[in-house]
Amino acid sequence: MALLIKYYNSFKNIFNFALNETFRFAFCKVFSVIFKMDDQNAEQKSDSSDSCDEAEISNYVLYRDRPEWKDVHPIPQDDGSAQVVRIAYSEKFTDVFDYFRGVLKSGEKSERTLGLVTDAITLNPANYTVWIYRLEIVLFLKIDLHEELKYISNVIREFTKNYQVWQYRKNIVEMLNDPSGELEFTANILDMDAKNYHAWQYRQWVLSTFSHLMEKEIEFVDKLISQDMRNNSAWNQRYFVINNLDYNSEMIENEIKYTFDKITSLSKNESAWNYLRGLLLYSENGVLEKRVRDFCTQLYNKGNRSTHLMSCMVDFIDADVNSTEPENIEKVKFALKLCCDLATVFDPIRRFYWVYISGELENKYNIKEHEFKIKVLENK
């Protein structure tokens, strides 16, 4: 078995050597993780184990060759006789984790085991046990938690989309009870990827736990939306902020204006439309609806055919019309025309959806004969 893995790795090394960088990258790049938030772990230091081995080979000494570790008994991984989803671990990986198992067994908590755990984390930050043991060592040695916060900052910069690193940071900040650097830190991570789900989720935790920080969040959100109006995460954060402030009608009024403005400059942006619809949840007696309805009508009359605009108008008509008065019939027919235009011209990928919505309207208002029948082939 060990021999087989050795051969496998040597073959791979030759293979890597022989191929160009792009292909090698493709070969080396590994699988993503379940329930990933986009490409969470995929971009991680996936090819670190081998390529780093080569780079560091001159100065890196395996634990088994370190005289100061002679007293520790490494424990090899025990898979029994099973040949199930084996991993052809690199020599370095096997060495570090054999010693990690040995240390878990002896329970040693010291500077050198902290170093070992640091190596283990670099090789696989997705290992829960390594993080649990690290925290135990840190607390046992009474290491300055501010130093530990610096450490985890560096690890997060390297593995921005790993779950455990953010959870560990949360633990440290909770113990420090000091969130003073957290907004700046997450802002820096979001600067690398403004849609990083982990960073936003963590930022929300900081803001909820230390609520005085919420005051300036709207400025941050403003900045991010102005950098990229399509950043849905930033729009969501905007709603998060508004939702956590005490309700006042002036604020909602300002939000409506803000969103109208953003939609006017980029009318195909779903994020802004969703936000606008979200604001309507604050509407009392339909006041906001009237403003939004007028805004939509104006846009449409100017010739705008954003799918989100048209979709919004269909919903408004459906919500407004209660009876089968002749005047209302004309409104419903207009909604049917919108559905037909969406299905055939402006939003054909959703044609089956618009056929369905159109059919619902026909049934609800009992309008069977009209010129906006949509013809589609079978959806299969």
Binding site: F27, K29, V30, S49, A126, N232, Y275
Partner: protein, 343 residues
């Protein structure tokens, strides 16, 4: 773009390779090898390829999975019971001094049970009481579930896994179902879909977890009235761009969302609203015609997760050559029927 040929035999081979030996770059899965096993076996089941594994090999897998089970004893408290994701620290399992570092993870327990059912095991060796009490110990006062007992994070992923375990073991008496439902509804957002936690951005993966969880609890209508269902349906249908599905508005499409959103819509009875043919084309265009397997997009290489979920997505929209799946449990209908038979 012309639709590429679908080569089931090639994908079966891809899975059989990943079930056997992974390259050293996969070391990040060292702690969760069960996930690769789960994707490989469910994927093979969809392809009708389980017969190509020998009975001995299937027995080996089942035994290996059971080896990862933590059962209660004087050193292992109930709150750590369930399944671990790999053998990383298994040597310590029976050592009283250090088995405190052995603990289950609810995602791994869910996958372990799915693997066992898929391979036709009758779950007789599962310590059901311990597993259920282990799951219960992960529930927080807000109704959510943590991944594991020590410092585990909580979100809708682990809600789903916990509820799926209760469903498979046919017993939700150890958990607080009302609080769970309350938590799920707190994750419902202004745009009509679900985030991982209350307030976080709506996402295809968390939306699946929410809808599948509610469906397993038979409580969809409790959280989502007709109006909310309509907004959710629109949000989900709007995720289809360039044929495939994206996880969030204004992001690129990725094959795995053909499952997360496809299954969500399927559970809601709304799958006919999407453009199936274009979705099928998108997924098939991300198949690797040389090595087998599916990647998330054209710029990536195949991996077991995207391969399995691509096949799940294809199966949902109907393909005669693929076995149908149960969208709420994410195993094949065949395996789910077998489960109901042994329950």
């Amino acid at each position: 773009m012309a639709r590429p040929e679908f080569k089931p035999e090639l994908h079966k081979k891809y899975f059989r390779r990943s079930l056997d030996l992974l390259p050293s770059e996969s070391a990040m899965f060292d702690y969760s090898r069960l996930t690769i096993l789960y994707f490989g076996l469910v994927g093979l089941d969809i392809l009708g390829g389980l017969e190509s594994l020998t009975d001995q090999y299937k027995r080996d897998i089942v035994d290996w999975v059971y080896k990862l089970q933590l059962v209660p004893n004087e050193n292992c408290p109930e709150h750590k019971c369930g399944f671990m994701g790999s053998t990383t620290v298994i040597n310590l399992k029976t050592d009283p001094k250090c088995d405190k570092y052995c603990e289950s993870n609810v995602a791994m327990t869910y996958m372990a049970l799915c693997i066992l059912i898929t391979l036709g095991d009758n779950l007789s060796r599962v310590n059901k009481t311990a597993v259920l009490r282990g799951v219960a110990s992960l529930q927080k006062s807000d109704g959510s579930f943590r991944s594991n007992y020590e410092h585990g994070e909580s979100d809708l992923r682990f809600m789903y896994c916990s509820l799926a375990i209760c469903n498979i073991l046919n017993d939700s008496s150890t958990i607080n179902v009302n609080n769970a439902i309350k938590f799920i509804s707190n994750c419902f957002n202004y745009d009509g879909a679900f985030g991982q936690n209350p307030g976080t951005e709506s996402h295809g993966g968390s939306t699946y977890c929410a809808i599948a969880s509610l469906s397993l609890l038979d409580s969809l209508s409790l959280v989502l009235d007709k109006k909310k269902l309509k907004i959710l349906e629109r949000w989900a249908v709007n995720r289809q761009i360039c044929g495939g599905f994206q996880g969030r508005p204004n992001k690129d499409p990725d094959t795995c969302y053909s499952f997360w959103l496809g299954a969500t819509l399927s559970i809601m009875g709304s799958l006919d609203r999407i453009h199936k043919d274009r979705n099928r084309n998108f997924v098939l265009n991300n198949a690797n015609q040389l090595t087998g397997g599916f990647s998330k997009n054209m710029d990536s290489i195949p991996d077991p997760m995207h391969t399995c979920l691509s096949l799940c997505g294809l199966s949902l929209i109907g393909d005669d050559n693929l076995n149908p799946i149960n969208p709420a449990l994410n195993i094949t209908v065949r395996a789910a029927n077998y489960l109901r038979h042994i329950q």
